[in-house]
Protein backbone atom coordinates (compact mmCIF):
# COMPACT_ATOMS: atom_id res chain seq x y z
CA UNK A 1 0.00 0.00 0.00
CA UNK A 2 1.29 3.49 -0.72
CA UNK A 3 1.20 6.09 2.00
CA UNK A 4 -2.16 7.63 1.13
CA UNK A 5 -3.80 4.18 1.13
CA UNK A 6 -2.14 3.39 4.46
CA UNK A 7 -3.45 6.66 5.90
CA UNK A 8 -6.97 5.88 4.73
CA UNK A 9 -6.81 2.32 6.10
CA UNK A 10 -5.62 3.54 9.50
CA UNK A 11 -8.35 6.18 9.66
CA UNK A 12 -10.99 3.54 8.84
CA UNK A 13 -9.70 1.19 11.49
CA UNK A 14 -9.60 3.95 14.10
CA UNK A 15 -13.28 4.62 13.53
CA UNK A 16 -14.06 0.91 13.62
CA UNK A 17 -12.40 0.57 17.05
CA UNK A 18 -14.15 3.73 18.25
CA UNK A 19 -17.52 2.32 17.11
CA UNK A 20 -16.87 -0.93 19.03
CA UNK A 21 -15.92 1.18 22.03
CA UNK A 22 -19.13 3.20 21.91
CA UNK A 23 -21.27 0.08 21.50
CA UNK A 24 -19.50 -1.48 24.47
CA UNK A 25 -20.09 1.65 26.55
CA UNK A 26 -23.76 1.64 25.50
CA UNK A 27 -24.21 -2.01 26.59
CA UNK A 28 -22.54 -1.44 29.95
CA UNK A 29 -24.43 1.82 30.50
CA UNK A 30 -27.83 0.52 29.42
CA UNK A 31 -27.39 -2.43 31.78
CA UNK A 32 -26.58 -0.21 34.72
CA UNK A 33 -29.56 1.99 33.94
CA UNK A 34 -31.92 -0.95 33.48
CA UNK A 35 -30.84 -3.28 36.29
CA UNK A 36 -29.32 -1.01 38.93
CA UNK A 37 -31.29 2.21 38.69
CA UNK A 38 -34.25 1.13 36.57
CA UNK A 39 -37.60 1.92 38.23
CA UNK A 40 -40.10 0.74 35.69
CA UNK A 41 -40.80 4.22 34.29
CA UNK A 42 -39.73 5.46 30.87
CA UNK A 43 -36.14 4.48 30.15
CA UNK A 44 -33.78 7.39 30.90
CA UNK A 45 -30.04 6.55 30.79
CA UNK A 46 -29.21 8.53 33.94
CA UNK A 47 -26.14 6.52 34.93
CA UNK A 48 -24.66 6.48 31.41
CA UNK A 49 -25.04 10.22 31.08
CA UNK A 50 -23.62 10.85 34.55
CA UNK A 51 -20.60 8.62 33.85
CA UNK A 52 -19.97 10.31 30.49
CA UNK A 53 -20.25 13.73 32.10
CA UNK A 54 -17.74 12.82 34.80
CA UNK A 55 -15.30 11.18 32.40
CA UNK A 56 -15.77 14.05 29.96
CA UNK A 57 -15.24 16.72 32.62
CA UNK A 58 -11.97 15.21 33.72
CA UNK A 59 -10.82 14.90 30.10
CA UNK A 60 -11.84 18.43 29.25
CA UNK A 61 -9.59 19.60 32.03
CA UNK A 62 -6.68 17.55 30.75
CA UNK A 63 -7.31 18.75 27.18
CA UNK A 64 -7.25 22.36 28.29
CA UNK A 65 -4.30 22.26 30.69
CA UNK A 66 -2.74 18.83 30.18
CA UNK A 67 0.04 20.05 27.87
CA UNK A 68 1.55 22.24 30.58
CA UNK A 69 1.61 19.49 33.18
CA UNK A 70 2.99 16.96 30.69
CA UNK A 71 5.81 19.31 29.68
CA UNK A 72 6.49 20.21 33.31
CA UNK A 73 6.60 16.58 34.42
CA UNK A 74 9.08 15.78 31.64
CA UNK A 75 11.20 18.77 32.78
CA UNK A 76 11.04 20.07 29.20
CA UNK A 77 12.86 23.35 28.58
CA UNK A 78 11.77 25.75 25.84
CA UNK A 79 14.10 25.52 22.86
CA UNK A 80 14.81 29.28 22.85
CA UNK A 81 16.09 29.02 26.42
CA UNK A 82 18.33 26.11 25.52
CA UNK A 83 19.54 27.94 22.43
CA UNK A 84 20.42 31.04 24.43
CA UNK A 85 22.24 29.01 27.09
CA UNK A 86 23.98 26.58 24.75
CA UNK A 87 27.38 25.73 26.20
CA UNK A 88 29.20 24.95 22.96
CA UNK A 89 28.92 25.89 19.32
CA UNK A 90 28.14 22.29 18.56
CA UNK A 91 25.18 22.36 20.91
CA UNK A 92 23.96 25.65 19.47
CA UNK A 93 24.12 24.17 15.99
CA UNK A 94 22.03 21.17 17.09
CA UNK A 95 19.34 23.32 18.69
CA UNK A 96 19.25 25.68 15.73
CA UNK A 97 18.87 22.65 13.49
CA UNK A 98 15.91 21.41 15.57
CA UNK A 99 14.30 24.84 15.30
CA UNK A 100 14.73 24.81 11.53
CA UNK A 101 13.42 21.26 11.19
CA UNK A 102 10.30 22.08 13.26
CA UNK A 103 9.68 25.14 11.05
CA UNK A 104 10.21 23.07 7.89
CA UNK A 105 7.70 20.47 8.99
CA UNK A 106 5.08 23.02 9.98
CA UNK A 107 5.40 24.54 6.50
CA UNK A 108 5.00 21.09 4.95
CA UNK A 109 1.95 20.37 7.12
CA UNK A 110 0.49 23.85 6.59
CA UNK A 111 -0.08 24.42 10.32
CA UNK A 112 1.27 27.09 12.72
CA UNK A 113 4.77 26.44 14.06
CA UNK A 114 4.39 24.47 17.31
CA UNK A 115 6.46 25.48 20.33
CA UNK A 116 9.58 23.34 20.54
CA UNK A 117 11.00 21.95 23.80
CA UNK A 118 14.12 20.02 24.71
CA UNK A 119 14.13 17.35 27.43
CA UNK A 120 17.52 16.90 29.13
CA UNK A 121 17.55 13.10 28.88
CA UNK A 122 20.13 10.98 27.11
CA UNK A 123 17.61 8.37 25.89
CA UNK A 124 16.27 9.13 22.38
CA UNK A 125 12.57 9.97 22.43
CA UNK A 126 10.11 12.69 21.42
CA UNK A 127 6.46 13.56 22.00
CA UNK A 128 3.78 16.02 20.96
CA UNK A 129 1.07 17.58 23.10
CA UNK A 130 -1.51 20.38 22.98
CA UNK A 131 -5.21 20.33 22.16
CA UNK A 132 -5.09 21.52 18.54
CA UNK A 133 -2.51 22.62 15.95
CA UNK A 134 -2.66 26.23 17.17
CA UNK A 135 -1.73 25.19 20.73
CA UNK A 136 0.68 22.36 19.98
CA UNK A 137 4.10 21.67 21.48
CA UNK A 138 6.76 19.23 20.36
CA UNK A 139 9.41 18.00 22.81
CA UNK A 140 12.59 16.15 21.88
CA UNK A 141 15.25 14.64 24.15
CA UNK A 142 18.89 15.66 23.99
CA UNK A 143 19.73 12.02 23.31
CA UNK A 144 17.64 12.07 20.13
CA UNK A 145 19.34 15.24 18.88
CA UNK A 146 22.75 13.71 19.43
CA UNK A 147 21.94 10.37 17.82
CA UNK A 148 20.12 11.26 14.62
CA UNK A 149 21.20 12.84 11.35
CA UNK A 150 19.34 15.90 10.10
CA UNK A 151 17.12 13.86 7.80
CA UNK A 152 16.28 11.34 10.51
CA UNK A 153 15.44 14.13 12.95
CA UNK A 154 13.20 15.56 10.26
CA UNK A 155 11.43 12.19 10.07
CA UNK A 156 10.84 12.06 13.83
CA UNK A 157 9.60 15.67 13.96
CA UNK A 158 7.34 14.88 10.98
CA UNK A 159 5.87 11.93 12.94
CA UNK A 160 5.10 14.23 15.86
CA UNK A 161 3.72 16.85 13.48
CA UNK A 162 1.51 14.05 12.16
CA UNK A 163 0.07 13.52 15.67
CA UNK A 164 -0.61 17.25 15.82
CA UNK A 165 -2.19 17.54 12.37
CA UNK A 166 -4.34 14.42 12.89
CA UNK A 167 -5.69 15.78 16.20
CA UNK A 168 -4.44 12.66 18.00
CA UNK A 169 -4.09 14.46 21.32
CA UNK A 170 -7.77 15.32 21.19
CA UNK A 171 -8.75 11.83 20.03
CA UNK A 172 -6.78 10.14 22.80
CA UNK A 173 -8.39 12.46 25.35
CA UNK A 174 -11.83 11.44 24.10
CA UNK A 175 -10.73 7.81 24.39
CA UNK A 176 -9.55 8.46 27.94
CA UNK A 177 -12.98 9.94 28.72
CA UNK A 178 -14.67 6.79 27.38
CA UNK A 179 -12.34 4.53 29.38
CA UNK A 180 -13.13 6.61 32.47
CA UNK A 181 -16.87 6.41 31.88
CA UNK A 182 -16.77 2.62 31.36
CA UNK A 183 -14.72 2.17 34.55
CA UNK A 184 -17.14 4.34 36.53
CA UNK A 185 -20.16 2.39 35.29
CA UNK A 186 -18.51 -0.93 36.12
CA UNK A 187 -17.63 0.40 39.55
CA UNK A 188 -21.21 1.53 40.26
CA UNK A 189 -22.59 -1.80 39.12
CA UNK A 190 -20.11 -3.69 41.31
CA UNK A 191 -20.98 -1.62 44.38
CA UNK A 192 -24.71 -1.99 44.00
CA UNK A 193 -24.34 -5.76 43.67
CA UNK A 194 -22.41 -5.92 46.89
CA UNK A 195 -24.85 -3.75 48.79
CA UNK A 196 -28.35 -4.14 47.42
CA UNK A 197 -30.21 -7.43 47.00
CA UNK A 198 -33.38 -6.28 45.30
CA UNK A 199 -32.16 -6.10 41.72
CA UNK A 200 -33.38 -9.61 41.07
CA UNK A 201 -36.99 -8.48 41.28
CA UNK A 202 -36.35 -5.64 38.88
CA UNK A 203 -34.54 -7.85 36.46
CA UNK A 204 -37.70 -9.89 35.95
CA UNK A 205 -39.42 -6.84 34.55
CA UNK A 206 -36.82 -6.87 31.77
CA UNK A 207 -39.15 -9.14 29.86
CA UNK A 208 -38.51 -12.76 29.06
CA UNK A 209 -35.62 -14.49 27.36
CA UNK A 210 -34.24 -11.38 25.66
CA UNK A 211 -34.00 -9.62 28.99
CA UNK A 212 -32.20 -12.54 30.63
CA UNK A 213 -29.82 -12.84 27.68
CA UNK A 214 -29.02 -9.12 27.86
CA UNK A 215 -28.49 -9.46 31.62
CA UNK A 216 -25.98 -12.27 31.05
CA UNK A 217 -24.13 -10.29 28.39
CA UNK A 218 -24.11 -7.27 30.66
CA UNK A 219 -22.68 -9.20 33.65
CA UNK A 220 -19.83 -10.45 31.47
CA UNK A 221 -19.30 -6.93 30.07
CA UNK A 222 -19.17 -5.45 33.59
CA UNK A 223 -16.59 -7.98 34.72
CA UNK A 224 -14.41 -7.39 31.68
CA UNK A 225 -15.04 -3.65 31.51
CA UNK A 226 -11.74 -2.34 32.92
CA UNK A 227 -9.70 -4.70 30.75
CA UNK A 228 -11.73 -4.19 27.58
CA UNK A 229 -11.69 -0.40 28.00
CA UNK A 230 -7.92 -0.40 28.30
CA UNK A 231 -7.43 -2.79 25.36
CA UNK A 232 -9.64 -0.70 23.08
CA UNK A 233 -7.77 2.47 24.07
CA UNK A 234 -4.47 0.76 23.25
CA UNK A 235 -5.82 -0.41 19.90
CA UNK A 236 -6.70 3.20 19.01
CA UNK A 237 -3.26 4.35 20.17
CA UNK A 238 -1.46 1.82 17.93
CA UNK A 239 -3.57 2.82 14.91
CA UNK A 240 -2.64 6.46 15.47
CA UNK A 241 1.05 5.55 15.60
CA UNK A 242 0.85 3.91 12.18
CA UNK A 243 -1.12 6.90 10.93
CA UNK A 244 1.42 9.39 12.32
CA UNK A 245 4.20 7.43 10.60
CA UNK A 246 2.31 7.63 7.31
CA UNK A 247 1.56 11.34 7.77
CA UNK A 248 5.22 11.94 8.61
CA UNK A 249 6.16 10.20 5.39
CA UNK A 250 3.70 12.39 3.51
CA UNK A 251 5.29 15.54 4.95
CA UNK A 252 8.93 14.67 4.28
CA UNK A 253 8.29 12.42 1.24
CA UNK A 254 11.16 10.46 2.77
CA UNK A 255 9.78 7.44 4.67
CA UNK A 256 13.16 5.73 4.66
CA UNK A 257 14.73 8.43 6.88
CA UNK A 258 12.01 7.86 9.50
CA UNK A 259 12.52 4.10 9.21
CA UNK A 260 16.27 4.62 9.81
CA UNK A 261 15.52 6.83 12.79
CA UNK A 262 13.20 4.20 14.27
CA UNK A 263 15.90 1.57 13.83
CA UNK A 264 18.40 3.73 15.70
CA UNK A 265 15.90 4.54 18.43
CA UNK A 266 15.00 0.90 18.86
CA UNK A 267 18.59 -0.24 19.18
CA UNK A 268 19.13 2.34 21.91
CA UNK A 269 15.81 1.99 23.62
CA UNK A 270 15.83 1.85 27.36
CA UNK A 271 13.42 3.51 29.74
CA UNK A 272 13.13 7.28 29.31
CA UNK A 273 12.50 8.09 32.98
CA UNK A 274 11.64 11.74 32.41
CA UNK A 275 8.56 10.90 30.32
CA UNK A 276 5.68 9.55 32.38
CA UNK A 277 3.68 6.58 31.16
CA UNK A 278 0.54 8.72 30.75
CA UNK A 279 2.13 10.42 27.77
CA UNK A 280 3.35 7.21 26.17
CA UNK A 281 0.79 7.22 23.37
CA UNK A 282 2.19 10.48 22.00
CA UNK A 283 5.86 9.48 21.99
CA UNK A 284 7.84 8.29 19.00
CA UNK A 285 8.75 5.14 20.95
CA UNK A 286 7.31 3.61 24.12
CA UNK A 287 9.12 5.46 26.95
CA UNK A 288 9.00 2.34 29.12
CA UNK A 289 11.54 0.81 26.81
CA UNK A 290 9.59 -2.39 26.30
CA UNK A 291 10.81 -4.12 23.23
CA UNK A 292 8.57 -6.36 21.23
CA UNK A 293 10.17 -8.80 18.92
CA UNK A 294 8.26 -10.24 16.01
CA UNK A 295 8.04 -13.66 17.71
CA UNK A 296 6.29 -12.46 20.84
CA UNK A 297 3.98 -10.05 19.06
CA UNK A 298 0.34 -10.96 19.26
CA UNK A 299 -0.36 -11.24 22.97
CA UNK A 300 2.25 -8.71 24.05
CA UNK A 301 1.29 -6.38 21.20
CA UNK A 302 -2.26 -6.12 22.58
CA UNK A 303 -0.91 -4.48 25.72
CA UNK A 304 1.41 -1.99 24.04
CA UNK A 305 0.77 1.67 23.22
CA UNK A 306 2.98 1.35 20.13
CA UNK A 307 3.04 -1.28 17.40
CA UNK A 308 6.25 -3.36 17.24
CA UNK A 309 9.07 -1.36 15.66
CA UNK A 310 9.65 -4.06 13.05
CA UNK A 311 6.09 -3.66 11.77
CA UNK A 312 6.31 0.13 11.69
CA UNK A 313 9.62 -0.01 9.83
CA UNK A 314 8.20 -2.52 7.36
CA UNK A 315 5.18 -0.26 6.72
CA UNK A 316 7.47 2.73 6.12
CA UNK A 317 9.67 0.78 3.75
CA UNK A 318 6.60 -0.23 1.77
CA UNK A 319 5.76 3.46 1.44
CA UNK A 320 9.30 4.01 0.17
CA UNK A 321 8.76 1.24 -2.37
CA UNK A 322 11.52 -0.87 -0.88
CA UNK A 323 11.07 -4.60 -0.92
CA UNK A 324 10.48 -5.86 2.61
CA UNK A 325 12.27 -9.05 3.49
CA UNK A 326 10.09 -11.49 5.40
Amino acid sequence: MNLLEQQAANRRRTWFVMAVFIIFLAVVGAGVDAFVIGNGGPFVPVATMAALAMGGGQSWWSLRFGDRSVLASAAAIPLETRLAEAASDDERLRYRQLQNVVEEMSIAAGIPVPRAYVIPDSDPNAFATGRDPAHASIAVTDGLLRMLSREELQGVVAHEMGHVRNYDIRLMTVVAALVGAVALLADWAGRSMRFGGQRSSRRDKGGGAAGILFFAVWIVAIMLAPVVGRLLALAVSRRREYLADATGAELTRNPIALADALEKIESAVEPTPSIKQGTAHLCIADPMGRRLTQSESGWAELWATHPPMSKRIAALKTMGYLKVGT
Binding site: D89, L93, R96, N100, A108
Partner: protein, 187 residues
Protein backbone atom coordinates in the same frame (compact mmCIF):
# COMPACT_ATOMS: atom_id res chain seq x y z
CA UNK B 1 -48.07 21.20 -1.55
CA UNK B 2 -46.25 21.10 -4.91
CA UNK B 3 -45.22 24.65 -4.15
CA UNK B 4 -43.56 23.52 -0.88
CA UNK B 5 -41.74 20.72 -2.68
CA UNK B 6 -40.48 23.18 -5.26
CA UNK B 7 -39.41 25.57 -2.53
CA UNK B 8 -37.53 22.73 -0.82
CA UNK B 9 -35.70 21.82 -4.02
CA UNK B 10 -34.75 25.45 -4.65
CA UNK B 11 -33.50 25.80 -1.05
CA UNK B 12 -31.37 22.64 -1.28
CA UNK B 13 -29.95 23.87 -4.60
CA UNK B 14 -29.17 27.29 -3.14
CA UNK B 15 -27.38 25.74 -0.15
CA UNK B 16 -25.36 23.54 -2.46
CA UNK B 17 -24.32 26.53 -4.60
CA UNK B 18 -23.28 28.49 -1.50
CA UNK B 19 -21.36 25.53 -0.09
CA UNK B 20 -19.54 24.79 -3.33
CA UNK B 21 -18.68 28.45 -3.88
CA UNK B 22 -17.37 28.93 -0.35
CA UNK B 23 -15.38 25.71 -0.56
CA UNK B 24 -13.67 26.97 -3.72
CA UNK B 25 -12.93 30.34 -2.11
CA UNK B 26 -11.41 28.65 0.94
CA UNK B 27 -9.13 26.48 -1.16
CA UNK B 28 -8.13 29.38 -3.41
CA UNK B 29 -7.12 31.47 -0.39
CA UNK B 30 -5.12 28.58 1.06
CA UNK B 31 -3.40 28.20 -2.30
CA UNK B 32 -2.54 31.92 -2.47
CA UNK B 33 -1.24 31.78 1.08
CA UNK B 34 0.89 28.79 0.12
CA UNK B 35 2.34 30.79 -2.74
CA UNK B 36 3.25 33.68 -0.38
CA UNK B 37 5.02 31.22 1.93
CA UNK B 38 7.36 30.37 -0.94
CA UNK B 39 8.13 34.07 -1.44
CA UNK B 40 8.87 34.56 2.26
CA UNK B 41 11.40 31.74 2.23
CA UNK B 42 13.00 32.94 -1.01
CA UNK B 43 13.47 36.39 0.50
CA UNK B 44 15.09 34.81 3.54
CA UNK B 45 17.54 33.02 1.33
CA UNK B 46 18.42 36.24 -0.48
CA UNK B 47 19.09 37.89 2.90
CA UNK B 48 21.35 35.11 4.11
CA UNK B 49 23.64 34.92 1.10
CA UNK B 50 25.65 38.16 1.63
CA UNK B 51 26.44 36.95 5.17
CA UNK B 52 27.70 33.68 3.85
CA UNK B 53 29.81 35.26 1.16
CA UNK B 54 31.38 37.70 3.66
CA UNK B 55 32.16 34.89 6.10
CA UNK B 56 33.94 32.71 3.57
CA UNK B 57 35.54 35.51 1.50
CA UNK B 58 38.74 35.71 3.55
CA UNK B 59 39.53 32.03 3.35
CA UNK B 60 38.49 31.63 -0.27
CA UNK B 61 40.61 34.34 -1.91
CA UNK B 62 41.30 32.12 -4.87
CA UNK B 63 37.67 31.30 -5.56
CA UNK B 64 36.58 34.81 -6.45
CA UNK B 65 34.73 33.54 -9.53
CA UNK B 66 32.60 31.17 -7.50
CA UNK B 67 31.74 33.90 -5.01
CA UNK B 68 30.83 36.49 -7.60
CA UNK B 69 28.75 33.89 -9.44
CA UNK B 70 26.72 33.35 -6.26
CA UNK B 71 26.23 37.09 -5.69
CA UNK B 72 25.27 37.67 -9.30
CA UNK B 73 22.77 34.82 -9.27
CA UNK B 74 21.30 36.23 -6.07
CA UNK B 75 20.94 39.73 -7.48
CA UNK B 76 19.32 38.38 -10.61
CA UNK B 77 16.93 36.23 -8.58
CA UNK B 78 15.84 39.29 -6.57
CA UNK B 79 14.71 41.05 -9.74
CA UNK B 80 12.63 38.16 -11.05
CA UNK B 81 9.46 39.45 -12.68
CA UNK B 82 7.17 36.46 -13.07
CA UNK B 83 6.80 33.12 -11.26
CA UNK B 84 8.29 31.27 -14.25
CA UNK B 85 11.19 33.74 -14.36
CA UNK B 86 11.68 33.35 -10.60
CA UNK B 87 11.70 29.58 -11.00
CA UNK B 88 14.53 29.72 -13.53
CA UNK B 89 16.60 32.31 -11.63
CA UNK B 90 16.16 30.63 -8.25
CA UNK B 91 17.25 27.40 -9.89
CA UNK B 92 20.44 29.10 -11.11
CA UNK B 93 21.04 30.46 -7.59
CA UNK B 94 20.64 27.01 -6.08
CA UNK B 95 23.17 25.65 -8.54
CA UNK B 96 25.67 28.46 -7.77
CA UNK B 97 25.31 27.84 -4.03
CA UNK B 98 25.83 24.13 -4.56
CA UNK B 99 29.11 24.86 -6.36
CA UNK B 100 30.20 27.20 -3.56
CA UNK B 101 29.65 24.56 -0.89
CA UNK B 102 31.36 21.92 -3.01
CA UNK B 103 34.43 24.15 -3.42
CA UNK B 104 34.37 25.11 0.28
CA UNK B 105 34.94 21.45 1.13
CA UNK B 106 38.54 21.99 -0.03
CA UNK B 107 39.23 24.52 2.73
CA UNK B 108 39.74 22.78 6.09
CA UNK B 109 39.55 26.00 8.10
CA UNK B 110 36.13 26.69 6.56
CA UNK B 111 34.84 23.25 7.31
CA UNK B 112 35.80 23.71 10.98
CA UNK B 113 34.50 27.29 11.19
CA UNK B 114 31.41 27.45 13.41
CA UNK B 115 30.01 30.50 11.64
CA UNK B 116 30.20 28.75 8.30
CA UNK B 117 28.57 25.63 9.73
CA UNK B 118 25.78 27.71 11.20
CA UNK B 119 25.24 29.61 7.96
CA UNK B 120 25.27 26.36 6.05
CA UNK B 121 22.59 25.00 8.39
CA UNK B 122 20.52 28.17 7.95
CA UNK B 123 20.82 27.97 4.18
CA UNK B 124 19.97 24.28 3.96
CA UNK B 125 17.09 24.92 6.38
CA UNK B 126 15.87 27.68 4.09
CA UNK B 127 16.28 25.54 0.98
CA UNK B 128 14.23 22.82 2.70
CA UNK B 129 11.58 25.35 3.65
CA UNK B 130 11.38 26.53 0.04
CA UNK B 131 11.01 22.92 -1.03
CA UNK B 132 8.31 22.14 1.54
CA UNK B 133 6.47 25.38 0.81
CA UNK B 134 6.41 24.37 -2.88
CA UNK B 135 5.27 20.88 -1.94
CA UNK B 136 2.46 22.30 0.20
CA UNK B 137 1.51 24.75 -2.54
CA UNK B 138 1.38 22.00 -5.13
CA UNK B 139 -0.70 19.73 -2.87
CA UNK B 140 -3.24 22.44 -2.12
CA UNK B 141 -3.28 23.69 -5.73
CA UNK B 142 -3.94 20.13 -6.92
CA UNK B 143 -6.80 19.85 -4.44
CA UNK B 144 -8.17 23.17 -5.66
CA UNK B 145 -7.85 22.16 -9.32
CA UNK B 146 -9.54 18.83 -8.68
CA UNK B 147 -12.40 20.51 -6.83
CA UNK B 148 -12.65 23.03 -9.66
CA UNK B 149 -12.86 20.39 -12.34
CA UNK B 150 -15.06 17.64 -10.88
CA UNK B 151 -18.71 17.52 -11.75
CA UNK B 152 -20.90 19.23 -10.57
CA UNK B 153 -18.68 21.80 -8.82
CA UNK B 154 -17.15 22.70 -12.21
CA UNK B 155 -20.42 24.44 -13.13
CA UNK B 156 -19.98 26.81 -10.18
CA UNK B 157 -16.25 27.22 -10.86
CA UNK B 158 -16.82 28.14 -14.51
CA UNK B 159 -19.71 30.49 -13.91
CA UNK B 160 -17.79 32.43 -11.24
CA UNK B 161 -14.51 32.43 -13.16
CA UNK B 162 -12.28 30.36 -10.88
CA UNK B 163 -8.99 30.05 -12.77
CA UNK B 164 -6.96 26.89 -12.88
CA UNK B 165 -3.98 27.10 -10.50
CA UNK B 166 -0.51 26.71 -11.99
CA UNK B 167 1.54 23.96 -10.38
CA UNK B 168 5.11 24.69 -9.45
CA UNK B 169 7.39 22.82 -11.80
CA UNK B 170 11.10 22.67 -12.35
CA UNK B 171 11.51 24.87 -15.41
CA UNK B 172 15.25 24.62 -15.60
CA UNK B 173 16.37 21.45 -17.32
CA UNK B 174 19.73 21.65 -15.54
CA UNK B 175 18.02 21.46 -12.16
CA UNK B 176 16.05 18.40 -13.11
CA UNK B 177 19.05 16.51 -14.41
CA UNK B 178 20.87 14.26 -11.98
CA UNK B 179 24.20 15.90 -11.19
CA UNK B 180 27.14 14.05 -12.67
CA UNK B 181 30.07 13.72 -10.32
CA UNK B 182 33.49 13.46 -11.86
CA UNK B 183 35.88 11.77 -9.45
CA UNK B 184 38.80 11.39 -11.80
CA UNK B 185 41.72 13.66 -10.86
CA UNK B 186 42.22 15.14 -14.30
CA UNK B 187 42.93 18.79 -14.93
Amino acid sequence: MPFLVLLGIVAVFAFWVIGAYNGLIGLRNQKDNGWKQIDIQLKRRHDLIPNLVNTVKGAMEFERDTLTAVMEARNKAMTAASPADAGAKEGALTAALGRLFAVAENYPQLRANENVKMLQEELSGTENKIGFARQFYNDIATKYNTRREVFPTNIIANSFGFQRAELFEITDAAERAVPTVDLSMRK
